[in-house]
Symmetry: C3
Subunit: 281 residues, 3 copies
Amino acid sequence: MNHLLVLQSDFGLSDGAVAAMEGVALSVDPSLRLYSLTHEIPPFDTYEASYRLLQAVPYWPEGSVFVSVVDPGVGSARRSCVAKTVTGQYIVTPDNGSLSHIARVIGIEEVREISKDERRAGSQFTQTFHGRDVYAYIGARLAAGIRKFEEIGEPYDVKDVVMLEMPEAKFEDGVLTGTIETLDVRFGSLWTNISSELFAQLGAERKDLIDISIYNGDRKVHRSFVTYALTFADVEIGESLIYVNSMNHMAVAINQGSFADAYHIGTRNGWKITMKKASGR
Amino acid sequence: MNHLLVLQSDFGLSDGAVAAMEGVALSVDPSLRLYSLTHEIPPFDTYEASYRLLQAVPYWPEGSVFVSVVDPGVGSARRSCVAKTVTGQYIVTPDNGSLSHIARVIGIEEVREISKDERRAGSQFTQTFHGRDVYAYIGARLAAGIRKFEEIGEPYDVKDVVMLEMPEAKFEDGVLTGTIETLDVRFGSLWTNISSELFAQLGAERKDLIDISIYNGDRKVHRSFVTYALTFADVEIGESLIYVNSMNHMAVAINQGSFADAYHIGTRNGWKITMKKASGR
Amino acid sequence: MNHLLVLQSDFGLSDGAVAAMEGVALSVDPSLRLYSLTHEIPPFDTYEASYRLLQAVPYWPEGSVFVSVVDPGVGSARRSCVAKTVTGQYIVTPDNGSLSHIARVIGIEEVREISKDERRAGSQFTQTFHGRDVYAYIGARLAAGIRKFEEIGEPYDVKDVVMLEMPEAKFEDGVLTGTIETLDVRFGSLWTNISSELFAQLGAERKDLIDISIYNGDRKVHRSFVTYALTFADVEIGESLIYVNSMNHMAVAINQGSFADAYHIGTRNGWKITMKKASGR
């Protein structure tokens, strides 16, 4: 193990919850090197937790341990687990959908259930902060090499990992249809589930116009013609573009503006986007 | 010393103030391992600084050094000090109430006044950023072992440490009365000063209904019957509960909702909560 | 090199972008010690990026490597560079004005252009996240000592570094005129470009009243008489003051209040402040 431990949660950074988790981890082994993925996951949003893991985990060295605590079911019968990814990182998390993207896109090699008895000594008085009392503690023992992955509870079938519903993007009759998975929060770009490989089927070339429509449920809320660009520098400031984002999926943005704010676009439930080549060209 | 240095402040993370403190500390010894408790303490709020220290400090290894800079009196005659807790951590802070919770709940073993001459070389031009020029510098020297605790200025009586007013919770005629000390900020739960031991005097059992009233000054602003739960999973989503929080005190929440937002509940000055067993049961 | 790597960006902390950069850096060398300056630079605001570098860089040990990614021109022809400061730190950044304050106030000893071929293997599919694929990668190699500064592309003339327009403060006919460069964000103090040395020409002494006027374009939006104070403790709570800030420039504040909020004062473009000794004294 490389002694790297990375925390993610929906706790925010304005109180002492994250620092309490860090203290627990460093009490296990003060030489651990702790980092944070993000603690700004919207409360209880396991989909976002899953997406943010995909955005970061694959870039970390083999043997890095992630602890993700977005846990609407804290204290319930939901399983706690440690997953080992195909790329060699470990993720300690409630098995509640938080592994969905990693499982689908990267792959989980093996998953083990954490025994309910395995927790920090002296923490039995409360059942409401498993981030501190269970997950940070176990993640730290794993990252420190005190506990081997193979010693953590019983393995179970990777196919039994809880998966959130994730509609597939599709290409039919010259039209791509996908969902808006998330926003590039600070910049207001729409990040879709349409991969660059699927987009390639449109046969569009750099600077071609793409005809996009966005739906909230059955209602069309936006239509425009946007430039397919390799970089933001391919368009003017204030001009819309469609491009391959850092997750290798298609995204829609306004150069130095916010597409989501400009057109009041949301994500996930009920939001849909279609793309086709502009016919007039 | 374990070379762990943890910073807390009301500076926020949107400018370079915290990074300047970190640079000063790492210039003292680049092998220090720096962490942050939180930098989102509301400006000048020493009560919150005190509470957040209690939430995190006890979970850190012996020998960890905390630097807390919430300092409405920067440049005034208020003392700067280093406190050693009964559990073996050190806290470098203005002595302005920031040590109140630690002193009361954990205990301070010894406290020493920092001499006014002890500060970073070349920092005399300004008297407005003691976080960088005094506290981070001294905390770093302590954490690095360059300066021993016993060498830091003169000790003074622990009873002279500035204590903020903290009303005691009480149990009278079958009714618990306490204050709302803070919120579990992201989740909107009310964290009271009623300990689980005091609550035990109600004789309530899991799933009993508790009759709670909340007052802002003399005005009752909320009353409801909430379930005493061991975990959030004991109640439905959207149902209110009362539970033992991660500080071993009683808290009131809505499962996956915000109690504070739902009923416009505030904290501290003038806010009061009472709890008794529901009579109808 | 001291293995310290400090990241700055306009990415915010609510998604996985910063953690992806950190993962890339630690994949180069897991023993690097990563810190953050701030990730809350307003999107595309190179002036703010430049100012925050000045606020932090000089306090870090020699050999520290900064990576600053505020990059409105990502994918365009703008140069990427590594600058070595006169004080011995390195800054990896797009050469887009982000070095303006450091160049002017601290000084750049040497600057080298990063070759466009130098980037993380396997990152060619996207041109929109150079923070992860170029800057963090190169900064990590530099901080780890894998790549020497002298081996990073070709040097170019320091005079060719892109400089943002920064009006000079001046003293004429007993009146100081300057700009409001930024706010002490959490506290609402106005940080001007008037240095303490220039202010000294007023001949004001501690507790003298200073007559200040603030203009938005040609319109005067505020005038008041504020106390020249050495520390906040020189004035009452709620009283305005002018003082030498932690950057050795003059700042205007309300003790425990927000001057910027109270009088709706903004920064930079078109905002101007004048100061003179109050004539009535």
